[in-house]
């Protein structure tokens, strides 16, 4: 008897589900929109991250072209005779020389890769799954002989992007020098993205183009295990043999933190969406309380009811999850550009920008979306299943349930937040640990919000209630009474606002710190640098000339380069300066007499990021590959630097020249004599530089500052975009919650209209209520935002990048968030208010 009965009623319930969805398209649509947006955000960020990571890997691979090992030289490269002797004397046939440089074609920066076609074939023959360039490359030489003109090869895709056809001539801009080349051939790469942005040429052409005769950058090798050690012993001093796999991995780890940060942001959107789902499902259960109650009394079991409500939510989640995935892929194509740009700026120049769709990203977003929907629907479904048949979910039962639970939610939330805070104090925590702790705080905060909302409303009533008109009191008390709705709406909004505040304050603080740092670190008034550090040098006669000129008060000479270290390649700055290399304000920690010891003891200063990531401090030492072999330098101090997350070494110029056979100077900075007008001085110095404009570029301190901040802002574009998206999801959530709240009040509004309340008065009342909710959300978001900013600055950023940031109260961020909160709530209230005002009293009164 029970079986058929319950079966029948369940199918009836299924039908009632459909009927409900059709009659309340708004609620379902908003929930779907929220799910879709959150899924889209997760997918987009994941796709962008995966694409950028893949681009990173491809960039590294295309540079190392399937080799197992690489011989690297110092800043001045490797003498190509070493390669010849490697091949002929030692007989390493699986080896290929490589030279690299940046060229510009039609305003796009491409990587010029010079290799030896015949040795490439040998190398790639061993490793068939590499770029498959062999065919195309073999054809280069004959054509070149025929045309007597330097020729290059592009992938079909790159050629198409540049609008070039085979045997067409085009110009390469190599650090200002224009050289004409012929497109000898195009090739179709197995993986189009890997070859994107690469210009291939044979070795001598590339050397000629780059103006680096007789020099190569590295030698790719495919080595057997037993060949490694003998080769290492044979290598002349100044060269090093590295395992490309290891190196790639280490290089890729650098940007991992950056990707994790973006992922964490996208997960926040899911949390906001979860609040939205709880709200919508509760509403749908309440709207059907009669039919659910009847079914319950007909013998539908509790678990059948719960299952049904969860399945309903999951169906909506599947449909909108699919839409979200599609949207996420589209959004990911936009994001990947930002992500790749930031990686290029912060870590490693990526020439690959292609969008690579990783289906795992889509699956991840979809599953996370479904999981969130399922877990969020459990709460209201359980609530519906729990109640007795007769009283299935009276509104008042739900509310009183909430009211009873408020103190417990507050307590539980506070405990979670406290646990999160305690966890953050853990000194050697990982980045994910930091995020998990922050997550605990955030969830704890959300749990506290309904209770805090009640308290605030009571406080407002106690303080101002007496002066309020009755309709205002009604609006205010309505918030407290419908706390299951208003609490969720306020929580969603407050969460999103606190993200805005937290991220905004973090970025603002960071920016302010960078501005401050730029002021301290930019010594000199005019900064002159070469256009290409690898090939060009500030002419010695110019330096001499300027040094002795009356117009120059002080001159600082800088050589920037990359050196191999035990931690992989690191940036090195060798400076000759009449003033201390680092101003005292920028020193974090140092040995005594570090300034003299930089020369006497041949020490280095290291940047904070390096110190943090490698747990180095003054007194430790670091091994660098010099032109005469490995040499250990003592670390004399740590300084603040925000130019690279990988780390920076600072060295005295004389020490550098002693260990590296390199006379190049990549930059100089000049300071102006006192009592000389800045503008005039700049003009006069610039005039002297004009003849060198092919190799040199120059900026005032102000110009550098602007450039640096533009770069900074570009780095955070994606974060800002994600922050906006979280707000959008929150908007959907509060619109949905407010709409539900207002729909439940239809009868009350009809009554008020029947009693003679004018539409305008009713709208004002509804907007007072929603505006007040926005106000409370904004108020609650402020402290949470500050906590979040603090965690982001002191824990997340530090564990991610190793930068220390000064906390800075970015007031405009608080004001923005405040205005945004109230505005969002008002906008979200507009439709419900308009609906309420338009209501025909007779119709509204009947619905009971």
């Amino acid at each position: 008897m029970t079986m058929p009965m319950s079966l029948k009623s369940v199918s009836l319930l299924h039908r009632s589900s459909w009927g409900y969805l059709r009659r309340h398209p708004w609620q379902t649509g908003l929930m779907g929109l929220g799910i879709a947006l959150a899924v889209a955000m997760v997918v987009a960020v994941d796709v962008a991250n995966a694409s950028a990571r893949r681009a990173f890997a491809l960039t590294l691979e295309s540079v190392t072209a399937g080799a197992s090992h690489q011989i690297l030289g110092g800043p001045s490269g490797i003498d190509e005779r070493i390669y010849t002797s490697l091949r002929t004397d030692l007989g390493f046939r699986s080896s290929a020389p490589v030279i690299r440089g940046r060229v510009r074609v039609q305003g796009r920066t491409l990587i010029l890769l010079g290799t030896d076609p015949f040795s490439e074939v040998a190398l790639n023959g061993v490793q068939p799954d590499s770029l498959a360039l062999a065919d195309a490359k073999v054809r280069i030489n004959p054509i070149r002989v025929l045309l007597q003109q330097p020729s290059v090869v592009l992938s079909q895709q790159t050629a198409q992007q540049l609008g070039l056809k085979s045997s067409e001539s085009f110009n390469l801009d190599i650090d200002g020098a224009i050289k004409s080349v012929v497109l000898a051939a195009t090739f179709e790469a197995d993986n189009a993205a890997a070859a994107e942005g690469l210009v291939f040429a044979d070795m001598s052409t590339a050397q000629w183009l780059l103006g680096r005769f007789g020099v190569i950058d590295s030698i790719d090798l495919h080595l057997q295990n037993d060949e490694v050690e003998p080769l290492r012993e044979w290598l002349p001093a100044g060269l090093t043999l590295i395992d490309t796999g290891n190196r790639q991995q280490r290089l890729m780890q650098m940007s991992a933190a950056f990707h994790h940060n973006l992922t964490a942001m996208s997960l926040l959107a899911l949390l906001v969406a979860a609040l939205l789902i709880v709200n919508t499902v509760t509403f749908s259960v309440l709207k059907r309380r009669t039919s659910l109650g009847i079914l319950r009394s007909l013998g539908v079991t509790r678990s059948e009811l719960i299952r049904l409500i969860c399945i309903e939510t999951l169906i909506v989640a599947v449909v909108f999850g699919v839409l979200g995935c599609a949207f996420g892929v589209a959004l990911g194509q936009v994001l990947v550009r930002f992500v790749s740009g930031t990686i290029s700026d912060l870590y490693f120049h990526l020439h690959v920008t292609a969008f690579l769709l990783d289906y795992r990203s889509i699956a991840k977003g979809f599953v996370l979306g479904l999981g969130t929907a399922f877990i969020s629907s459990l709460v209201p479904a359980w609530e519906a299943g729990k109640s007795l048949p007769v009283q299935v979910l009276q509104r008042s039962v739900v509310e009183s349930g909430w009211h009873r639970r408020l103190p417990w939610m507050l307590l539980f939330g506070a405990v979670l937040a406290a646990l999160g805070s305690a966890w953050l104090q853990w000194p050697s925590g990982s980045l994910w640990g930091g995020f998990a702790a922050l997550g605990l705080q955030v969830v704890g905060f959300c749990l506290c919000i309904p209770a805090l909302l009640m308290l605030l409303v009571k406080l407002i009533m106690a303080v101002f209630g007496y002066g309020f008109g009755i309709s205002t009191r009604m609006a205010v008390r309505g918030i407290a009474r419908g706390v299951s709705r208003s609490g969720l709406a306020v929580a969603a909004l407050a969460l999103a606002l606190s993200v805005t505040v937290g991220v905004g304050v973090m970025i603002g603080s960071f920016r302010q710190t960078v501005i401050h740092w730029l002021e301290q670190s930019l010594q000199g008034d005019m900064h002159i640098s070469v256009r290409n550090r690898n090939t060009q040098s500030v002419p010695a006669d110019l330096i001499d000339d300027l040094r002795h000129s009356a117009e120059v008060f002080q001159l600082r000479q800088i050589r920037r380069t990359l050196v191999e270290t035990q931690f992989g390649p690191l940036r090195l700055m060798a400076v000759a300066s009449p003033t201390p290399l680092v101003t005292p304000e920028l020193i974090m920690a140092s040995e005594a007499n570090w300034q003299t010891r930089l020369q006497e003891d041949e020490g280095v200063m290291i940047s904070e990021t390096l110190a943090y990531h490698r747990s180095l401090s003054s007194g430790d030492s670091i091994t660098l590959l010099t032109d005469v072999g490995e040499k250990t330098f003592s670390v004399l101090g740590v300084f603040y630097d925000y130019t690279s997350s990988r780390g920076l070494l600072l060295m005295d110029d004389q020490v550098y020249r002693q260990w590296w056979r390199d006379q190049r100077v990549t930059a100089i900075s000049l300071s102006r004599p006192p009592n000389v007008s800045a503008e005039l001085w700049h003009q006069r110095v610039a005039e002297r530089l004009v003849p060198y404009s092919e190799t040199l570029q120059w900026h005032s301190s102000e110009g550098i500052r602007t450039l640096s901040l533009a770069l900074f802002d570009r780095t955070f574009t994606i974060t800002q975009a994600l922050r906006l998206l979280v707000i959008v999801v929150a908007m959907v959530a509060i619109i949905s919650a407010l709409l539900a709240l207002q729909l439940e009040r239809q009868q009350q509004y009809a009554l008020l209209r029947a009693m003679g309340m004018k539409p305008g008065q009713l709208m004002a009342m509804v907007l007072t209520e929603t505006g007040l909710m926005g106000l409370v959300a904004a108020l609650l978001a402020m402290p949470m935002g500050v906590v979040m900013a603090d965690v982001l600055i002191d824990v997340i950023n530090r564990r991610s990048f190793g930068w220390s940031i000064q906390f800075y109260w970015a007031w405009e961020t608080f004001l923005q968030a405040f205005a945004l909160g109230i505005l969002s709530a008002l906008v979200a209230g507009l439709y419900p208010a308009w609906r309420a005002a338009r209501l025909q009293p007779a119709n509204g009164l009947r619905e009971q």
Partner: protein, 244 residues
């Protein structure tokens, strides 16, 4: 259809008068349209008490809604003091409800977020009564219904009978000319019902208003001066039958 006897002469204000002419109202759309009121005529003045009888679903509530200006007829006219209600703007109609109408709903429909006092005072506030006068008049009203000590309670803290008294007070506090009651004693035991009825009668007559009550109860009908039944969309005056 006979009209009632002369209205009580009102000393200052012009006598309130309402008239329904050939009123039609149906629900639903297209083919499934169901006619509820079908060319109904009715006329009444201030000072009268009218009881409205009829089977469930006969359209009594619909008629009250039309009288109150909460709903509008498909055809026919509602005239208040000779003015066509259909010519009013929405704002004017709202003003009419606000100043002239008091409605006691079958299920009271008190506002749960307002105290008993506030539920009553809200009507005065809508009528621009403020400050001391608002308090005084609300307090007097609470006193009249015998609930002066329960003003601070919320509706869910009151019994059904108490809620009903608040609903009556709310309908009368602004001294409307037209008081409509939809089965006002339907949810009450006989004793409370009787005292409620007496209260309503005395307040309406004090204010010299027109009272129209929907009821199923013989006792309530007996208390009215005129008794009408709604059948097949039309009104019939039951003269003599209840005229004791």
């Amino acid at each position: 259809m006979t009209t009632a006897e002369d209205p009580q002469p009102s000393n200052t204000e012009p006598a309130f008068q309402i008239e329904l002419r050939r009123l039609e109202k149906s629900y639903g759309q297209g083919r499934v349209r169901r006619s509820v009121l079908n060319g109904l005529d009715f006329q009444a003045q201030a000072g009268q008490t009218v009881a409205l009888l009829g089977r469930s679903g006969s359209g009594k509530s619909t008629l009250l809604n039309l009288l109150a200006g909460i709903d509008q007829p498909d055809a026919g006219e509602v005239l208040v003091n000779g003015r066509h209600q259909s010519h009013l703007t929405d704002s004017e109609r709202t003003d009419f409800r606000r100043r002239q109408v008091g409605f006691i709903y079958q299920s009271f429909l008190l506002i749960p977020t307002l105290t008993a006092f506030e539920n009553i005072a809200l009507v005065l506030e809508l009528n621009d009564v403020r400050g001391g006068e608002l308090k005084r008049r609300t307090a007097t009203m609470l006193d009249d219904i015998g609930l002066s000590d329960r003003g601070g309670s919320y509706p869910d803290q009151l019994s059904g009978g108490e809620q009903q008294r608040i609903a009556i007070a709310r309908a009368l506090v602004h001294r409307p000319k037209l008081v409509l009651a939809d089965e006002p004693t339907g949810n009450l035991d006989e004793d409370s019902g009787r005292s409620m009825l007496a209260l309503m009668h005395s307040l309406v007559s004090q204010q010299h208003g027109l009272l129209v009550m929907v009821t199923h109860s013989l006792a309530v009908a007996r208390s009215a001066e005129r008794v009408l039944t709604l059948e097949q969309g039309k009104l019939f005056e039951r003269e003599g039958e209840f005229a004791w």
